[in-house]
């Protein structure tokens, strides 16, 4: 996760990244202090639910973003079993962040597969 964090931190406003596995509510994270695993799992669950309700209303989605309390959470589906989300400041350039996350998605896919096996 630290490598992913290092790749993404070149985007101004980026704060942290988390892999979330909805079936087990497990997380792998490189987030700021104060974010417990339970809290990150709860955030992941909410974002997956938002992703699903968005898909129902607007069809297939690339990404979902929640802006709340001066920050943003960008979520991308990697596989049916793994989602990644990024915490950033609300004023972050969303397009740059999406591009950076998109470029890393293959890497994330490999890493989520690897952690699922371990």
């Amino acid at each position: 996760m630290r490598e992913l964090f290092n790749e993404l931190r070149s985007v101004a406003g980026f704060l942290g990244v988390c892999l979330y596995y909805p079936q087990t509510a497990a997380v792998e994270e490189a987030m700021p202090e104060g974010y417990t695993e339970a809290r990150l799992a709860a955030i992941g669950g909410t974002l997956v639910a938002l992703y699903q309700s968005g898909s129902t209303c607007f069809g297939p989605l690339h990404d979902t973003v929640l802006y709340e309390n001066g920050s943003m959470l960008l979520m991308k589906k990697i596989t049916d079993e793994a989602f990644v989300y990024v915490l950033a400041e609300a004023g972050t350039n969303i397009f740059l962040l999406r591009i950076a996350l998109g470029l890393l998605s293959e890497n994330l896919l490999e890493k989520s597969g690897a952690s699922a096996k371990s």
Partner: protein
């Protein structure tokens, strides 16, 4: 290889239909136990035909069919119903609707129809679900709902109000009730949005729905015979919507109408009914239920969060959709490609944080 998606919360029905179809080597079967799972499957798979039950938990068949009308209008749908009387099904067939299959299922008949449809493919006669078919279904299932119908040929939507399957009221532009219902039912291609509530409690349409559907069919046949153009093509410029607008909505509308990055938007109340808005950018989004969009945030953990919350969706179609919730008002906004949402969010935060102007 053709793919059939079967949607039913009854596992034995799923199993029976799947087993029957799997005996055909060029047919593959996918299954889902509710509409939401079906939407997820549609997102990731090419599907040639859908067979769906109506009464299901989580997301029912009506919402699934409305979603199909908006996002997958080319996929034919067969409907399984436990409530269609033989008379209703017979009347439906007179209207040219052969999509209904009553439980308990006659598997031999259903399988034959499925194979016929798959063989007909894109050149077949049954395409997706027509509006009359959908309305028949609402009547058969005694559904209470409000349908917002958006024709593909013009911007002005129409509304049909049903209480326990009876058409209570209708409106589109300056037309009301029977006149509006005839106009709306005459739209040959339309997207359907369903809200599972109905504000109208007084029946204002005296004619039975079936009669209006019959008249529409007869009128269409006679126009075809005369080589006349469909009515929808003759429609004049859409009039401004009628109705009242809540005070909070007015300043939101003013901001949205002047924002250069907005393609179109819809404002909705807490019942998911669209708030009437004058202006060319205001349009409904088909089967959008804003309350459903925000439902995951309506939990005790999120109750303490303050300020306006925004959701941004990047659809695979290229659409960029921003939604926000402010009090009882929800907005759904299609942004121009590449328009930075933070600009609009900043603008709306400033607007909505400020008290409503009273003496400025």
């Amino acid at each position: 290889m053709k793919t059939v998606l079967v949607v039913d919360n009854d596992k034995s029905t799923l199993h029976t239909i799947s087993r029957q179809l799997q005996s055909y080597e060029d047919v593959s079967v996918l299954t889902a136990e509710n509409g939401r799972d079906a939407v997820a499957i549609l997102n990731d798979n090419e599907v040639d035909l859908i067979i769906t039950d109506i009464q299901m938990p989580v997301m029912d068949g009506f919402s699934l069919l409305a979603h199909l009308s908006q996002h997958y209008p080319g996929i034919p749908a067969f409907i399984i119903t436990a409530h269609g009387t033989p008379e209703n099904i017979s009347k439906s067939k007179k209207l040219g609707i052969s999509h209904f299959f009553k439980k308990p299922l006659d598997m031999k008949h259903l399988t034959r129809k499925i194979i016929e449809q798959l063989d007909a493919g894109a050149d077949g006669q049954i395409h997706c679900m027509s509006l009359p078919t959908f309305l028949q279904l609402v009547e058969m299932e005694s559904k209470t709902c409000t349908l917002t119908i958006t024709p593909h040929t013009q911007a002005e939507p129409g509304r049909l109000y049903f209480v326990e399957g009876e058409l209570f009221a209708a409106e589109t532009g300056n037309l009301e009730n029977e006149e509006a219902a005839r106009e709306i039912i005459g739209w040959e291609k339309a997207s359907i949005f369903i809200a599972n509530s109905c504000k109208k409690r007084v029946k204002q349409v005296s004619q039975p729905l079936m009669r209006i559907l019959m008249e529409n069919r007869e009128g269409r046949e006679s126009r075809t015979a005369e080589g006349a153009r469909p009515e929808a093509e003759d429609s004049a410029a859409a009039p401004e919507p009628a109705g009242t607008c809540p005070p909070d909505a007015e300043r939101i509308i003013e901001a949205l109408n002047t924002d250069p990055g907005i393609l179109q938007y819809g404002l909705y109340d807490d019942q998911d009914a669209q708030i009437p808005v004058a202006g060319t950018r205001s349009a409904p989004f088909g089967p959008v239920e804003p309350s459903r969009l925000f439902a995951p945030l309506h939990t005790p953990e999120h109750a303490q969060e303050k300020g306006v919350r925004y959701l941004l969706f990047f659809a695979k179609t290229g659409s960029q959709i921003l939604a926000f919730e402010f009090g009882n008002i929800r907005a759904v906004i299609a942004l121009q490609f590449g328009y930075p949402p933070r600009e609009l969010i900043r603008k709306m935060n400033t607007l909505l944080a400020a008290p409503e102007p009273t003496n400025a």
